[in-house]
Subunit: 332 residues, 2 copies
Amino acid sequence: MTFELNRRSFSLAGLAAALGLATPVSAAEDPLPSWNDGPAKRALQAFVRRVTTQGPDFVAPAERIATFDNDGTLWAEMPVYFEVLFAVDRGRELAAKDPALAAREPFKSLVEKGAAGLAGLTQAQVVELVAVTHSGMTTEQFQQIARAWFATARHPTTKRLYTQMVYQPQLELLAWLRREGFKTFIVSGGGVDFMRAFAEPVYGVPPEQVIGSSVETRWEMREGVPVLVKLPKVSSVDDKDGKPINIDLQIGRRPILAFGNSDGDLEMLQWTQAGPGARLMLLVHHDDAVREWAYDRDSKIGRLDKAWDAAVKNGWTVVSMRREWKQIFPPE
Amino acid sequence: MTFELNRRSFSLAGLAAALGLATPVSAAEDPLPSWNDGPAKRALQAFVRRVTTQGPDFVAPAERIATFDNDGTLWAEMPVYFEVLFAVDRGRELAAKDPALAAREPFKSLVEKGAAGLAGLTQAQVVELVAVTHSGMTTEQFQQIARAWFATARHPTTKRLYTQMVYQPQLELLAWLRREGFKTFIVSGGGVDFMRAFAEPVYGVPPEQVIGSSVETRWEMREGVPVLVKLPKVSSVDDKDGKPINIDLQIGRRPILAFGNSDGDLEMLQWTQAGPGARLMLLVHHDDAVREWAYDRDSKIGRLDKAWDAAVKNGWTVVSMRREWKQIFPPE
């Protein structure tokens, strides 16, 4: 049972605690029920206790910044980044209305073969596909397009909605960190507008705490009403060193906890580690071929190679999906 | 008396309210004591009541975004933007250690005449001064430099610390909006790193809610420790249409309240107005030559010309400093 007080709820247990009353903590209150009682869960519990308890490692709530990569860290990324699958569907929609577009690559392959057509495209053609499908509309129109896709599109093999391809253990971790006074941010190579179309309802992360890759926008007056038009020109690639650069620009404070899964997260984890005081760096290891996918060093996307070596060297926490996660996806 | 609960304090009155107990509201609890009981204060009170009360104009707390310009809106901007005065002091420090720098403009004039030397510089020379004094160091070194300046530098005419050149009525407004569930952002043409050096202790606005102009940074490993180096290349000018563009990029949600003071804020106010539901757009009018400065249409900085006309046409709230503010600056 919760009361709504000044825009956030607090539990009866919290109220009792504030009034100095003892409250029993039962096993049912485990904030991470989908995490096995293994080294990763224990590292998280020990870290949160250290930084939230008065003592040498205490961190003021305002400085409890936690940053999470998205693809492969908060949701799956196989067989290909979901945003590329969105671009395929959107590209086919555009081609259906424009024969000239349908007749040329990269659209021709997608019209003929669907997502399977991606295999025959060059890297430059995929980039063009993403650019064309992510520009030419206002920022608000893009939100509507992305939300409509999330409401109906389904993953090619699991047939789940993409918003159900998120990791249940991470949903629990995000919610628990926020209850412990952390501010949770997404810092991902994905498009910022694409992620904002679902981050708040699914992850509980509001748009102002989503950092991602972006395109330039142009201010325009349309019949007296201002709009921002998305242009086919990348303004920021939020990957590798782009992550600490954007963290510094948009957060202005160094994270004390960072969670990634690939070499694209290496610099974010190094940046997090280099600050003073208690720090926790984590990497998801995709080693569960039965319940999810298994890949790391030789993967074309989500490659975990240099970041793995850094984890071993620096004692970062590698989270084996197979061993540490009781459940991967939320119940449908 | 307050309890500390889960990183935020709440009053006995708030607790009583949560438990359904009646609490008397006395005149002493006026959240805006430095505002006269005039049209601006009444507009603010009516707006906050509308959006926080269940009804047709209710706005969910997560969507209560308020954006404030800084120069001329939250603190003074005369005789020149304070960040330029910081650049003058910093430029003289650099010149004192480097005779080659001291011998050439724009440094030569500043070494000889101090801030008075600004008058003889071209616009391009002032831009160079700002670029040189805001780059070449790591982001953390810049924070230290700026904080040291704020700790000792004083305004040329009032002799106050710059952190005491903030407007007391605005400090009250920021704090009150936050108590009413708003998230308060600064969106200003000032340098983001410069503003972050004082925004949290002075305004209660954390670094991640400060948006400003910025330079590019470069990721670099120095003896195994990563740093971000500020480069003399502007990446974003957070002024005019740059304001809604950065609001969209970094907040991803349209403000429902925006407060500016000059033509540089016009697009931010237009963007705020163009959303659905209840909206409040405000402009500070610097019309108090006795307690502050008086300027508007013909001013070289802080010019209030096109935005004034838009305010008249659209019914935005113009806040006369002379008539609406009981007190301008906080007690020393």
